[in-house]
Amino acid sequence: MENDKTADSTCSCAPKSDKLSFITFTHDIPACEILTITSTLTLKDRFGHFLARWGVNRMGYIVKPNLYKLGNPDADSPVFVSANYTMSFDALRSALAGIDCYILVLDTKGINVWCAAGKGTFGTEELVRRISWSGLSDIVQHRTIILPQLSAPGISAHEVQRRSGFRVEYGPVRANDLAEYLKTHKATPEMRRVHFSLWNRLVLTPMELVHAALPTLAVAIVLYFLAGPLAALAAITTVLTGTVLFPVLLPFIPTHDFSTKGLILGEIVAIPFALTFAADSVTSLWPNVLKALVFLLVMPAVTAYLALNFTGCTTFTSRTGVKKEIFRYVPFMAFIAGSGIVISILLGIFRLMKVI
């Protein structure tokens, strides 16, 4: 699976070989040679980031696990550790502009720092192995490595020190704070906290949309022929609400649980559709009320389900809490969605029987 993106000579981070003959190897991964990178991100890099956000070639968006040098580092220069997901690596190297240093890239199977730490690929084992494989102790005099704070769920710092001799220092959460951090090697409490800003939430939406696009389109087409364009529009609106509007409005919707936030938002979005059907003068009152009810039942249920699944995109939801949400709300979502579907089937049958 290893796709050596850095071998692309047009890339700003294109490595120049700097073979070190003093490193000896005892296992099968290819020899480590220090590669040279720059901190400048090119247009091509930025376009690659844009494509990755839309899910294009995500698994291939990787950097070769290796030791890299930025600028002209010497034996006293700091050593940073990163994941081999290109965006993690690029965030780090661009934040280190003007700093002579080494970057040790672990093999995280192309997954970002936080998720790789959760999976254990950015873990104690891999770090200890890469430190020895890169011959780091012969390259630098000091015995300190700077890790991203968000790698901590995968790393046992005291264990790394015991096994490799290198002391782990956790840097700040955001790469942008690195320059400030390096002045004192102390992070402020603010630098240690994750935030989920509007931009952070917005960049998630393309992937959410991509995942939902095909099934939504299929449902919209079926609904178009069964119940008309407004029903098709309602399906598309529901998915856009759950995947785009929900993340954007997340902090502003009252209640704490994602499911209830989704139910509230879905209900609000369903109201215009319900009113349009309730006001239909072609059919009589009770079928109109039932049609309106279908929107008020199904749209919030689907939005709430999409909202609940958004828990996996955040760094706030604990497993205990998510489990509670599932037991509390999924049966209710299923019940209201099921009721809405039963009513719409009944309405269809009545229409065929010409009762309405």
């Binding site: 999976k119 968000l150 699944n309 604990s318």
Partner: protein, 110 residues
């Protein structure tokens, strides 16, 4: 009422703590804060069970059942007849989030 996130599995044993402050460095939610003889648990409900503090505490003064806070992963595990607690993040390995995870916003971070 109806806040599913007020409780979690975080346990802290202050009498074991050697005040190394590691937990204050690794916690992304400021759950621990510097104290006089040992760290203080100041925002326990903010814990998202990432496990970073427990893994980095050299004297096992912290315990937490770390796991994946992702409904999609848990529901899929349940549908496959597996224990919800055994749910693995569905990210990577060619699934939903590929090289980037369900947490793509974290790419902005280190």
């Amino acid at each position: 009422m109806f806040d599913s996130y007020v409780e979690n599995t975080l346990q802290y044993y202050p009498d074991k703590c050697i005040n190394c402050l590691r937990c204050t460095q690794v916690c992304p939610h400021g759950v621990f804060s510097e104290g006089k003889e040992h760290v203080e648990l100041v925002r326990p409900a903010a814990c998202m069970e990432c496990g970073a503090c427990a893994l980095n505490c050299p004297v096992q003064a912290i315990e937490v059942q770390s796991g994946v806070g992702c409904a999609w992963a848990m529901i899929s595990a349940a549908l496959r007849g597996k224990d919800m607690d055994s749910a693995e993040c569905g990210c990577g390995d060619g699934s939903c989030c590929g090289g980037n995870s369900k947490n793509p916003f974290l790419i902005e971070k280190l």
